[in-house]
């Protein structure tokens, strides 16, 4: 029973903080709410018996990505005053459209209760299993992601560095 309540709590936190990311006026608050959201998602991972993933998630997202976001927001000195806003009408339209998308998505998701799940390895999320899969089955994508990082690095440096006259 306990797990259920934990799930409710975490789900509430993640949805609430995600919504706050969208509606907060101050960009810094947005970042903080997003970090909160990420922590709650990490909680879900733990709940799902994917502890290693949860750890990586916290390190990569909260530790690296969000810090980068915060850094940029501070660098550009964005705050509530400089924050642009869409007109109410557009916001309304955005809400309606997303609402429609949600309804239609949930509509198609229904009926999946009957989906039969094969009984697999309950410890799939443990480091040992993950490592096996990653370095046996998914070795090539792993290597390709290194090229991806190289691209990101070269790209970021190329855009970031000052033009040599």
């Amino acid at each position: 029973m306990m797990i259920k309540y934990i799930f409710y709590f975490l789900a509430f936190v993640s949805v609430f903080s995600a919504l706050m990311v969208v509606v907060s006026k101050n960009p810094v608050h947005c970042v903080l709410y997003l970090i909160m959201c990420f922590f709650s998602i990490a909680g879900h991972y733990v709940l799902l018996n994917a502890q290693f993933l949860a750890a990586v998630h916290v390190i990569v997202y909260a530790g690296a990505i969000m810090v980068l976001f915060l850094f940029v927001i501070m660098l550009l000195n964005l705050n509530t005053q400089s924050e642009p806003h869409k007109s109410t009408w557009l916001k309304f339209a955005a809400a309606i459209t997303s609402g429609l998308l949600l309804v239609i998505l949930v509509g198609t998701l229904k009926g999946s209760e009957t989906m039969v799940m094969p009984v697999g390895n309950p410890n799939a999320g443990l480091i040992k299993n993950l490592g096996n899969t990653l370095f046996k089955d998914f070795l090539l994508p792993f290597e390709v992601s290194s090229i991806l990082f190289l691209v990101a690095m070269v790209g970021a440096v190329m855009l970031g560095k000052k033009e040599i006259k």
Partner: protein, 636 residues
């Protein structure tokens, strides 16, 4: 010789490549020698093929030569292969023969033009595509040639591209041809779906198993005819042809009179079995042809530009050919293509010679009395005029008479309208002739000073064509003369399958003589009227703008007959002619064609505002589309 058929289109393309690649550095004479020489070489081969076919027995009159498989996608396969039979050999003979003469002529005509060498390369390219069109052994190759000649015509109309009018003419020609091409393309697709092949041999063989009047055949033929309407300038897609006269005169002679515009007739003659199986289409072809013939002739009555008169007359004559095809007289149609190629090329080249002498002036109101200055042009032009007007025994007489005889068989009212058309033809042609060559010179002093006969390279083609215009008709003497219809015998294998489905010739010799008599007598009356009007009375059409002072004071002899004639015939006809030209042609047809173009451009102009530049909007559109897609899936 037949085995060498691949050489026929090969020479012009080599000529084109040489001229295109190196032409710029060559002298004009070298370029004209290479250009004309390539066509002459083709002509020699074509003559060889023709002679060999003449000697061959019926079983060996058709031969196909495959070069290689070109397209092969599943059931759909197209080979690059040439079909030699009496019909295509006749056409290549006309194309290379007249093509060669016109190349020769262009050497003189374009001599002072800076684009001389480029002009020859375009002409060679045109001949190449035209040969491809008639030699191909399947509809796809015909289509390739069809598009190719369209492209060349477009390039050549706009050859003097400094003038925006020329540009617009080129554009109009292009759009109208596109409408036709769409019909042709859809026709080919439908042929492939119906017969599973685009090869003539297969298609025609299979077509014989269909019964007459089946819907699919009717649809195919109507689509093909739409293609022919565009290329051969039939109602309502004819307005580009008069405008196309903006190009250099040899181009008008070669492309817009002798060869390209007859491609539509070739296509129908080639597919004759399909059309024979679709009587409804044949009726449409006949009516369209007749309407075009009549309509264009009416407009021709009041034109003052020497090339425009010839252009409308071409449209009218093409209509006559379609009329012939429509009543099932395929041989007569092809016969008229041939004679028309002779005399219309002659007339255009003659007109070119006149324009050349007049330093570019094209308005016949400022000509007159050129008989003395241009004796050779005068004589040859006279022969051409008599040929087109149907004076026996010139070429036009026999072919036109043959068509009218078949039309008489088919429908008497059509025949009457046909006679009316040829009366009008005789009238405007002699009006043109008299206004240009007889009477006093009405141009400026300066022009009068410059008047000169054209150089030899221009007059020799004129003489050759004049001889052909005189003798060409004897290839197809009517039965009444108890001579053999040479052309009919020659073309027999091509139209065999159709002829067995057609009614045999019912006309008695007496009727035929009578028909000929009516044609000749009405023609003579018309010529006499024209003569009294333009030679005796020295009448000159009224200038369009009053500020232009006529070179000569107009003298009117006040005969009662003239007054009567003016009130009853001339004024209404002139009025009708003007109205047809200005309202129907310029506003209605051009309006629709231009309207379609404008609609697309207008939509484009407004549609591009959807591209607001706002990322927010783009993303909105994306999400909405996703919602829609999922919704469609949900409701499925």
């Amino acid at each position: 010789m037949i085995k060498l058929v691949a050489l026929v289109p090969l020479f012009p393309i080599i000529g084109f490549l040489l001229l295109g690649l190196f032409g710029k550095k060559w002298s004009k004479s070298l370029a004209s020698i290479v250009g004309s020489g390539a066509i002459f070489a083709s002509f020699v081969v074509a003559v060889g093929i023709f002679i060999e076919l003449l000697g061959a027995d019926a079983a060996h009159k058709t031969a196909t030569f495959s070069l290689f498989e070109w397209i092969d996608a599943g059931k759909f396969s197209v080979a690059i292969s040439f079909l030699i039979d009496p019909l295509s050999s006749l056409f290549i003979l006309i194309i290379t023969g007249i093509g060669f003469l016109i190349h020769l002529y262009s050497a003189g005509y374009m001599h002072d033009d800076e684009g001389h060498n480029k002009f020859f390369s375009y002409l060679n390219l045109f001949i190449f595509f035209m040969l491809l069109l008639v030699l191909g052994s399947n509809y796809v190759m015909m289509f390739v040639g069809w598009e190719g000649v369209g492209l060349c015509s477009y390039l050549l109309i706009g050859f003097w591209f400094k003038n925006t009018n020329y540009n617009n003419a080129a554009k109009k020609a292009f759009v109208m041809n596109r409408i036709g091409d769409l019909g042709f393309l859809l026709g080919i697709v439908l042929i492939f779906i119906t017969f599973g092949s685009v090869d003539y041999a297969t298609v025609f063989e299979q077509a014989t198993h269909f019964t007459s009047g089946e819907t699919v055949i009717t649809t195919i033929t109507i689509l093909l005819f739409i293609g022919a309407m565009g290329k051969s300038a039939q109602l309502p897609l004819f307005t580009w042809l008069p405008d196309a006269m903006a190009g250099p005169t040899p181009v008008s002679a070669l492309i817009h009179a002798a060869t390209m515009v007859t491609a539509g007739i070739y296509m129908i003659a080639r597919s004759n079995i399909l059309f024979t199986l679709a009587p409804v289409t044949l009726e449409i072809v006949a009516i369209t042809g007749l309407a075009t013939a009549l309509f264009a002739a009416t407009i021709g009555l009041a034109q003052n530009d020497i090339k425009k008169v010839l252009a409308y007359s071409t449209v009218s004559q093409l209509g006559l050919m379609f009329l012939a095809l429509g009543v099932g007289a395929y041989t007569s149609g092809v016969f008229h293509v041939m004679t028309h190629a002779f005399f219309k090329a002659l007339l255009f080249l003659g007109a070119g010679s006149v324009i050349h002498a007049m330093s570019g002036e094209q308005d016949i109101r400022f000509m007159g009395g050129l008989k003395k200055h241009l004796p050779i042009t005068f004589l040859t032009f006279l022969i051409g005029t008599m040929a087109i007007a149907g004076v026996p025994p010139f070429a036009g007489f026999f072919s036109k008479d043959e068509i009218l005889a078949h039309v008489f068989e088919h429908n008497k009212i059509m025949w009457l309208l046909g006679i009316l058309t040829s009366m009008m033809t005789a009238f405007y042609m002699f009006r043109l002739f008299f206004l240009v060559f007889s009477g006093q010179f009405r141009g400026t002093k300066e022009q009068a000073h410059h008047l000169h006969e054209s150089p030899k390279s221009m007059t020799i083609p004129l003489i050759v064509l004049a001889v052909l215009s005189v003798l060409g008709g004897f290839l197809g003497l009517p039965e009444t003369f108890h001579a053999k219809h040479l052309l009919e015998g020659f073309l027999e294998p091509v139209f065999e399958a159709s002829e067995v489905r057609m009614l045999p010739n019912h006309l008695t010799h007496l009727t035929e003589w009578a028909l000929m008599g009516v044609a000749v007598i009405t023609m003579i009356i018309v010529v006499l009227v024209a003569r009294s009007k333009y030679v005796k009375n020295n009448e000159v059409p009224v200038p369009e703008s009053t500020t232009l002072k006529p070179a000569h004071k107009l003298v009117y002899n006040k005969y009662f007959v003239d007054e009567f004639y003016n009130a009853i015939f001339v004024k209404p006809i002139n009025w009708l002619s003007q109205k047809f030209h200005s309202i129907f042609e310029l506003q209605f047809i051009d309006g629709i064609v231009n309207g379609m173009g404008s609609l697309v451009v207008w939509t484009g102009r407004n549609l591009r505002y959807a591209q607001t530049g706002n990322v927010g909007f783009y993303i909105f559109a994306m999400v909405l589309s996703v919602v829609l897609i999922l919704l469609v899936n949900y409701l499925r």
